[in-house]
Amino acid sequence: MDLITKSHIEKTGRQIRLLAGLLFLTLSFALFSLGTGSSNNLGLVPTMKIIFGLTEPTGLQSDIIWRLRFPRVLMAIVGGVALATAGALMQGCLGNPLVSPLTLGVASGAALGAAFAIILDFSFIPEVAIVANAFLFSLIVVGVIIRLGSMRSVSAESYILVGIAITFIAGAIVSTMTYFASDAQLSQLTHWSFGSLSRPTLTDSAIIGFLVLSLLPMGLFFAWDLNAMALGGDDFAISTGVDPRITRRNILILSALLTSIIISFTGLIGFVGLAAPHMSRLIIGNDYRKLIPCSAVAGALLMLFADTVGRTLFAPVVIPVGIMLSVIGGPIFMYLLMKHKGGMGV
């Protein structure tokens, strides 16, 4: 076999082992997280014994593990995977390292929907008013993206600018509504905007997990196209067989869907979608075929870590994950950026 080929194959092997290692670390941390909480008699060791079937749990223990902690840990993983994947896809197809899942305005749409439910008591599905509103309003934004994508001369910047415009418009409407809101409503809206993993039930997490899992392979499918677009721009992509306009639109629709599925249930969580892809670039390089899976795993780990610290730091008070992500992830992210200055392409 050719020597250059051989060293490339060895290199790919190292990267795959690295990815497997990161996945193992994440799953181990998920187990650790299941065994962590404010309940005194359910520490790490007893929890592991219960999970692996070595001791019979009491009804209360079973409830704590499977109905409180498990949905939360599952949601952290699924949310981290979805938001980080969306972030990596969007940074790639818009050719911009500053982009996060919140850039397209999907989240602002969701926030507007939540405000309609909380303040105006207006909803299409009253039983699950906030979630349903957040999701449906963010779908309106997805619709705008589709409409924009069908225009002939749309550029990467157009999407970002329209996203910013949507953010301003939705923000202004929400601000206006807060003038007419009661204190209780205001507090509920503020809490929604923190981004928390405590809301989804086991069924919710399972449904979200299934949706995300079925959308993820599509993200990987775009990896080649992203490489071509990121490397040489639109002309280079066309000559490599990629239609940049259609690809960009499809990737953005996928990212927007991933984002709105998560954010409708959890509230605003943005940072993981910005930071996890960049951290992954430092770990595994820029080839999107490896970067997308790596971002997904890194996102899950980051989210789990932030949530576990948020649950334990001031236990029994739980700090919402959206806040913890920025508090913990922010400094780590800045440190990595400064240490590897110049290494941040998209």
Binding site: I4, F221, V242, R289
Partner: protein, 278 residues
């Protein structure tokens, strides 16, 4: 290492691969290309000469649908380019832009691997990797295989992008000033490599390249197309097209031309500019 012109040019009666009929292209009201007609056969290498703004780059981009033509038709192996799926088109044509400016830190090996994109579904086989490795050697790029593309010099990048086009294994190469950033030796090595690929009688590949260096055009092409103000002023063998009067008309400079002999190719020595350019 260099062959003479006579040995380089095979000449032959290969079939027409690319056909351009009544092509018009406009940017708004500005008509950039007017009624362009030409054919390119297999194993043929065509140089496009013309001054800045004559429409060389625009014409090249019309051939592989980067520019959507306003009128006229481009066909490859009798198939209408505007109706071909892009992925199929990229199996037939590969394009080397003038420059690739990027901050995307991808390794050279993976850049070349992009050339396999039209040929694989998602996974690449060791066979694809071998194609990349061999092409790296062919262009003398093996030292750069695992270097970052965004940190290469302009000339190195240009060679990498040409090598990527070769990995793509198309029937037509479109090269926009493929030697603009290269040193003298590398210019010749690169053109020689492309010439050899085109000459290979086992396949019917052809190349179209826009270029400013008249001597490179004369040495490596079977045919020269002189583009002037959006129209083809002359189209034929280098010795017919590269004449004192044509050079004066298009570029506004005087020149002395020594015709090709058995052991050396045609040579154009550029003289003084003729007062004002037309």
């Amino acid at each position: 290492m260099m062959d003479t012109h006579e040995e380089l040019i095979r000449g032959g009666d290969s079939s027409v691969i690319l056909k351009v009929e009544n092509l018009h292209f406009r940017w708004g009201a500005n008509e950039v290309l007017k009624n362009i007609n030409f054919d390119v056969s297999g194993n043929e290498m065509v140089a496009i000469l013309g001054k800045n703004g004559a429409g060389k780059t625009t014409l090249i981009k019309c051939l592989n649908r980067i520019n959507q033509v306003n009128e006229g038709k481009v066909t490859i192996a009798s198939k209408d380019v505007s109706k071909m799926p892009l992925l199929d088109l990229s199996k037939s044509i590969s394009y080397v832009p003038q420059t690739v400016r990027t901050s995307f830190p991808m390794e050279v090996f993976d850049v070349l691997m992009l050339g396999r994109r039209p040929h694989v579904s998602w996974r690449t086989s060791p066979l694809d990797k071998d194609v990349v490795s061999q092409t790296l050697r062919q262009f003398g790029l093996e030292e750069l295989a695992f270097r970052r593309f965004d940190r290469l010099s302009g000339g190195e990048r240009q060679r990498v992008v040409i090598a990527k086009a070769v990995v793509q294994d198309p029937s037509i190469y479109l090269l926009d000033e493929p030697t603009s950033d290269l040193d003298l030796w590398t210019q010749l090595l690169t053109m020689e490599t492309i010439r050899n690929i085109v000459n290979d009688s086992r396949s019917e590949k052809s190349a179209i390249f826009a270029i400013h260096d008249i001597n490179i055009a004369a040495r490596y092409s079977d045919r020269v197309m002189l583009l002037h103000e959006g129209e083809i002023l002359a189209d034929g063998p280098p010795e017919d097209v590269i004449t004192r009067s044509n050079i004066a008309k298009v570029f506004g400079v005087e020149c002395d031309i020594t015709q090709a002999t058995n052991d050396r190719s045609m040579n154009v020595v550029i003289g003084k500019p003729i007062t004002k350019r037309m």
